[in-house]
């Protein structure tokens, strides 16, 4: 039950000839390594340079694939199985995929930026192609025929002209190792890639890739055979709960041990600002956390005056950093003077500020982690998106060699960015080290909303000029918001976690927001971003980080709402305006497809509608993650209640080569609902001292009443284009498309999201 030991499949892998020695420098200097560091980074765990790290064939011919990524509920392992089955010529059912186990896989970056398929899939495709090549060569020798005379079906290599003459993968290598080296590009993380001598198949040969396959893990979850992190219960386990300060920034001055003396076995723990309790049962731990009497320091209110003042704070703040490129684009200067001059010379100038509220990851269950630290070894069970980075970080935190720390990624509550998932495993590790027993730390509902890293609030300031003929003369996009990297997307060091900061690890100083990656081209077009200082430098409940489509929900809201406003000001239909100014044919194609699917007909502003319920339409487009999306939708607005319902939605999506249309459909449906949730409801409430949205009553999300009446998803498969991301690219279209539709329906432009019923009602009454 405890799943403490390796199961048989994992055991065979970990004890086989998996470690094949240091081959990292073998291929340095060849073409593949161009642009890579001169010396390969040190790899802890299985080397990427061994084919056996990636692919193994069992004695029964079944195939095991090891990936250093993980699945957040979009079925990445299914797509991987398709890619590998395709290259190896085995049945889908023969392939099983293990993910995110630092004992078995190299650091492929974990779950990150919709890179699962588009980056993580490359290494697996190349490894599988090489495995097939090695197996066919081996069969050629065994059968005494040239390799060119052979083909493979269902894991059996045979002579094309004499199908009875053949040998199976199981007979060739089943249960043994390949001992075949791979070239490695010396990259660690998302961009890690390997290749062998084999060339992967041409897309024209694909039989499995591009077909719809269902996820295998869903059955295990529905019949309750799957383990989540929360189910890991090693023998001699201690249950833990943390005790958080009532006021942001307060530190514990005194803990009254007697306050929990009535709970047998319950103990408290204090280090720096971190206070926790441990107990023999989970309920005892919960009870102890509630009863523990802690005296906290008096601190001045730290949260910038609370939510009422958020946007004043942002506008007034001196920027900590500014840049003009998207998230990972390096540093680029910009010049706003030509735009200002163009606007000054324009007949009309249109300006608008768009405001984006803080949002919480609010996972369906808050952070959970299990750690067993003993005898110089740490075993961690965690649903972090980045198990390898977490291994390195926990090693630093505990003062251990990373080779002595293992993180096993587990299924967990859905995770969409740098959520609280990284927090409890660190705390469990600290407590396990202190108490010498395995520890399971489970955060409460309130902690998961009040203390998780937040999506940063921002103000997007837009300006455009129009000439006599209503042509655009200049365009300014300026995003100013809280830092997307206040804590890092990888918890590769304790300074990126709450418990790390509370125990004296000073937070890093690195800054990021974002600018749109779309292809609009306007004269005198300038864009840049600025970040503002955090309310509280260390251990803040309002620290900010990546949340699904990070800083793109915000930038797209400003850009795509303003495009709508300028189109209307210019007297143009919103689709025609976009078609005129977008440059990339793939963006044009999704825009046209979404508009057509919704039945969009060009027209001007809608005539005022009578009655309490009015309808309107909106559209938006987004480029990012190597993918292109457009969302066209129709809303109903109840003017009395302020409720917005998305009645019909058409999504057009281009992610290049499609691996699994079934998976893409599921991901797009999921993005539809989660993005509606973020567009209409999700808003962190806080006063000047603490976060006050701490449960599903105070932090509202979408429910089944929000399901649209009709949904159409158009996927434009482009097999000749590189694989794009499919985990989040549709998300940023929804807030602007909905706000545009509400404006179309009511004639009232709401420039802040979420468009909660209260906010809409108030705007309509104003």
């Amino acid at each position: 039950m405890s799943n403490l030991t390796l199961n048989r499949r994992e055991f065979l892998q970990a004890t086989g000839a998996l470690v094949v020695g240091a081959q990292g420098s073998f291929f340095i200097g060849d073409a593949f390594a161009q642009g890579a560091p001169a010396a390969p980074p040190v790899i802890v765990g299985p080397p990427p340079t061994a084919l056996d790290t990636w692919i193994r064939i069992n004695a029964d011919g079944s195939v095991i694939v090891n990936s250093g990524k993980m699945d957040c509920g979009q079925g990445l392992d299914t797509a991987y199985a398709q890619i590998v089955a395709e290259e190896l010529d085995v049945a889908m059912g023969a392939v099983s995929v293990t993910m995110g186990d630092t004992r078995l896989s190299p650091n492929q970056g974990g779950g990150s930026g919709s890179t699962g398929v588009r980056l993580g899939g490359n290494a697996l495709r190349n490894a599988a192609a090489e495995a097939r090549r090695v197996l066919v060569e081996s069969a050629a020798t065994q059968l005494g025929v040239p390799a060119a005379a052979l083909t493979v079906e269902n894991g059996r290599v045979f002579v094309v002209a004499e199908p009875a003459k053949g040998v199976t993968y199981a007979q060739l290598v089943g249960g043994k190792t390949f001992n075949t080296p791979l070239k490695w590009n010396n990259q660690v993380g998302n961009t890690m890639n390997v290749q062998g001598l084999a060339k992967p198949k041409d897309v024209s040969q694909y039989k499995i890739v591009g077909k719809g396959y269902k996820r295998a893990d869903i059955a295990d979850k529905i019949i309750a055979t799957e383990h989540f992190t929360a189910h890991i219960l090693p023998a001699h386990l201690l249950h833990a709960r943390a005790v958080r300060p009532p006021v942001a920034g307060a530190m514990p001055l005194e803990v009254d041990a007697a306050s929990i003396a009535s709970i047998p076995g319950a103990k408290h723990f204090i280090k720096g600002g971190f206070v926790a309790v441990v107990a023999e049962s989970e309920w005892q731990a919960i009870s102890a956390a509630r009863r523990l009497k802690v005296t906290w320091s008096e601190v001045p209110p730290a949260l910038g005056g609370g939510e009422e003042k958020t946007f004043d704070y942002i506008r007034a703040a001196t920027p900590t950093f500014a840049n003009a490129v998207p998230m990972f684009g390096g540093k680029k200067a910009w010049d706003e003077k030509p735009t200002q001059a163009a606007l000054a010379a324009s007949k009309r100038v249109i300006e608008a500020d768009y405001e984006c509220c803080f949002q919480s990851h609010a996972r369906i269950s808050a952070s959970c982690g299990v750690a067993d630290v003993k005898d110089g070894q740490a075993n961690i069970w965690s649903d972090t998106q980045k198990p390898h980075y977490q291994r390195d970080g926990i090693a630093k935190f505990l003062g251990m060699d990373p080779a002595k720390v293992q993180v096993k990624w587990m299924h967990g509550a859905g995770s969409y960015g740098r959520s609280d998932a990284d927090e409890a495993p660190y705390e469990a590790a600290l407590l396990s080290q202190a108490f010498g027993r395995p520890v399971r730390m489970q955060w409460s509902r309130a902690e998961g909303m009040a203390w998780d890293p937040k999506a940063p609030a921002a103000v997007i300031s837009m300006k455009a000029g129009l000439d006599e003929a209503n042509n655009v003369t200049g365009w300014q996009f300026k995003a100013k918001g809280f830092n997307g990297w206040d804590v890092k997307f990888n918890s590769e060091g304790p300074e990126h976690t709450l418990v790390g900061m509370l125990t004296g690890h000073k937070k890093w100083n690195s800054f990021n927001f974002n600018v749109p990656e779309d292809s609009y081209k306007f004269p005198a077009h300038v864009h840049w971003w600025e970040t503002v200082p955090p309310y509280l430098q260390e251990a803040s409940p309002m620290r900010t980080a990546h949340m699904r489509a990070p800083q793109e929900m915000q930038t797209a809201f400003g850009q795509e709402c303003f495009v709508d406003e300028v189109a209307i000001a210019a007297g143009m239909d919103q689709v025609e305006f976009r078609l005129k100014h977008l440059q990339n044919p793939r963006e044009l194609a999704v825009l046209k497809a979404a508009a057509e699917k919704l039945g969009w007909q060009p027209r001007g502003a809608r005539e005022p509608q009578s009655g309490d319920v009015v309808t309107g339409r909106g559209i938006a487009v987004h480029a990012g993650y190597g993918s292109f999306t457009s969302v066209a939708l129709e809303v109903e607005v109840n003017k009395k209640t302020g409720r917005v319902w998305v009645k019909r939605v058409a999504v057009a999506f281009d992610c290049g080569l499609v691996i699994n249309p079934t998976g893409i459909h599921a991901s797009l449906e999921g993005q539809t609902m989660q993005a509606i949730s973020r567009a209409l409801y999700e808003e962190v409430h806080f006063d000047d001292k603490s976060v006050t949205s701490v449960d599903w009553g105070s932090y509202r999300i979408a429910n089944i009443a929000d399901i649209p009446g009709k949904m159409d998803y158009v996927v434009l498969n482009r097999p000749d284009k590189a694989m794009g991301g499919a985990g989040e690219p549709a998300m940023p279209c929804f807030p602007p498309a909905i706000a545009n539709a509400v404006a179309d329906a009511t004639g009232v432009r709401i420039r802040r999201y979420p468009l909660t019923p209260e906010r809409v009602k108030k705007a309509l009454q104003a």
């Binding site: 979850k221 989970e282 369906i364 609902m673 449960d695 482009r718």
Partner: protein
């Protein structure tokens, strides 16, 4: 600590629990069940749901002492003879999970609903799930699964669900542009 004998999935199980200890903790701790899960501890999300005498009940706030002598059914106990319950089969068929953590609440509420009302209307379905949360946004697939399960269990034709459709268009020659 008091000991309670509970009827869980048809078997008598004895557990230790404090007087005020909610049912969820002995189910997940001592009995190692994997269906009911901690979600909020506040009866707001449904993730911990079990059936008590056929009624969907939030085990995170229901005292263990209050269910002695009652029939407790869990997600773990739904399969019979190695086969998933029809509601589970429908959720698997319709792929009605993303992370799957909250699935317990949806499945157990579906079982409770359909055992009482095999042919629910859309409004009745909405009422039944008004207080069940899914963070991943799987609602669309979940409602498909509820309707599939209703059809299987009642033998009636499958009811219409919110129309959702996917078209995959193979672009013959992709336009030039960014890769």
């Amino acid at each position: 600590m008091p000991r309670y004998t509970l009827n869980v999935d048809g078997a008598q199980r004895t557990v230790n629990a404090a007087a005020d200890e909610p049912l969820l903790y002995p189910l997940t701790g001592e009995l190692h069940l994997k269906g009911p899960r901690f979600g909020c501890g506040l009866a707001q999300c449904g993730t911990c749901t079990v059936l008590v005498n056929g009624v969907a009940t939030r085990s995170c706030v229901t005292p263990t002492s209050a269910v002695v002598g009652k029939k407790i059914r869990t997600l773990d106990g739904l399969p019979k003879n190695g086969k998933p319950h029809p509601v589970q089969a429908a959720f698997i068929e319709e792929q009605a999970a993303q992370c799957g953590y909250c699935a317990n609440g949806w499945v157990m509420h579906t079982v409770a609903l359909l055992e009482k009302n095999p042919k629910p209307t859309d409004a009745q379905i909405h009422d039944a799930f008004a207080n069940v949360q899914c963070r991943c946004g799987t609602h669309i697939a979940i409602i498909r699964a509820v309707k599939t399960a209703a059809a299987t269990m009642s033998g009636a034709p499958r009811a219409q669900d919110p129309a959702t459709h996917i078209t995959v268009t193979q672009a013959k020659s992709a336009p030039a542009g960014q890769a």
